[in-house]
Symmetry: C2
Subunit: 215 residues, 2 copies
C-alpha cells in the first residue's frame, strides 16, 4: 500500500486526531462525532471526513467514530503501531530538553542514543539535572551505534553551523529519517526523509499574520 | 496592504530564505541567483520566484538578487523589521530552553516575561543553570504584565492538560499571537493568531514517510 498522494497537512492533522482520540479514550469515552472531533482539533467536520477518506471508510452514519478503532487505524496509518528508534545529536539546551521529554514514551518513539562532541562534559551536566547517569556518545561512533541500536530517525539539535557536518555523518549510516531543529538548510542524498522543524519559522508566521491580517 | 491570499507555506519559506540570505551576507556575498538561493534552501528556483512574486519584482534578469535588498524586503514582508515582544508561559524543560535560546536575539523577538505557577521554585532552578538571577512571574499577573510590557506573542509550554487554562488567560489580555507548543488543541476567540508547534506531529510525518514511501 502506498499513500503517496496524501498531503502532509493531512498527516499532521491525523497526528492531532490520534492525540485527541487518546485523550477521549483515557476519559472513558467510546464514540465521537466528526463534529466533536473536528472542534476539539480546531478544524471543521468536513476536513476530518476528507482527511480520513484518503485511507478508507471509518465512520458510522448517525453514530460517528468508535474512538478506539479510529485511534488504532490512525496509528497504523501513521506507522505508530511500532517503535521508532531515535537518536539526538547535539546535547545543548534543546537537545537536553528533548532527551528529558516525557511525552515521547506515549508516542512509540524511543530515544536510544544521544551524541555530542563533548560527551564527558555534557554527560556530567545532564546527569546533574536528572540525578541519574546519562550516556552521551561521540558523533564519530554514529555509524556503528546506528547499526547496533537500529536507529530509524536522527534529530539534529546542534548549532546551525554544525548541521551539515552532522547531516554528512548521518548520510553514511543506516538511519533514514532526519528531523532538523536548526535554521540551517541541510543537503542529504535521495532516499532520506528530512523535515525541518525550526521554531522561529513558525514564530515568523505568527508575526506575519499579526502584521498583515489585523489591520 | 494585505497579503491574505499568500499560502502559509510561502511565509515559512520566506523565513528560510531570510535566514539563508543573512548567512550569505555575513559571508560577505553581494548577489545570489535564484538557483543558488533555492538549492541552499532545499527548494527549486521556480518555487523561489513564485514565492517572491506574491510581493513584487525583486530579481534582476541575468544577475539574480541583491542579498541585502532582498533580505530587507523579506524582513519587511514578514514584519521582522520591528521588535516582537514575547512571553513564555510554563517554565519546564522546554520553556527553560526557550528562555535560554540565543537564536532569538538575531530574529527581532525579545522575551520580555516568563511565567510559571511555581515562580520561586522555577526561578531558583533556572538561575542555577544560568548563574544569573531570573525573573519568573505568576500567571495571575499575565493581564497586567502583558499590557505594561506590550507583549505581542505568548508561547505556551505548559503540560498539555494546562494549555486551555492558559489560553483562557491569554484571551483576557492585549496579547494577540499564540504559539502553542503542547499537543493540546486550544480554543481561542476570533482575532487571535494561534499556531500549534507540537514537534511529535512532525516526527509522526517522518515516521509516516519512512513507513510508506520507502517500500
Amino acid at each position: 500500500m502506498k499513500f503517496s498522494k496524501v498531503p502532509e497537512a493531512t498527516i499532521r492533522r491525523l497526528s492531532t486526531y490520534a492525540h485527541h482520540l487518546e485523550v477521549l479514550e483515557e476519559n472513558g469515552e467510546v464514540v465521537v462525532s466528526s463534529a466533536n472531533l473536528a472542534q476539539a482539533c480546531g478544524v471543521n467536520a468536513a476536513q476530518v471526513r476528507k482527511d480520513l477518506a484518503y485511507f478508507g471508510e471509518f465512520g458510522i452514519r448517525g453514530v460517528g467514530y468508535y474512538i478506539k478503532d479510529l485511534a488504532d487505524n490512525i496509528k497504523t496509518i501513521l506507522g505508530l503501531n511500532r517503535e521508532w528508534r531515535v537518536a539526538i545529536i547535539g546535547i545543548g539546551n534543546l537537545g537536553a530538553s528533548l532527551l528529558l521529554y516525557k511525552e515521547f514514551f506515549k508516542n512509540n518513539y524511543k530515544i536510544v542514543a544521544a551524541f555530542d562532541i563533548n560527551p564527558a562534559e555534557v554527560a556530567g551536566r545532564v546527569s546533574e539535572r536528572t540525578g541519574k547517569p546519562v550516556e552521551i556518545l561521540n558523533p564519530d561512533q554514529l555509524k556503528e551505534v546506528a547499526k547496533d541500536r537500529r536507529i530509524d530517525i536522527a534529530m539534529i539539535t546542534t548549532p546551525a553551523s554544525e548541521a551539515q557536518k552532522v547531516a554528512d555523518l548521518i548520510a553514511q549510516t543506516t538511519i533514514r529519517g532526519v528531523l532538523n531543529f536548526t535554521p540551517a538548510q541541510i543537503q542529504m542524498p535521495k532516499g532520506f526523509e528530512v523535515k525541518n522543524y525550526f521554531f522561529t519559522a513558525v514564530l515568523d508566521t505568527v508575526a506575519y499574520l499579526l502584521k498583515w491580517k489585523r489591520r
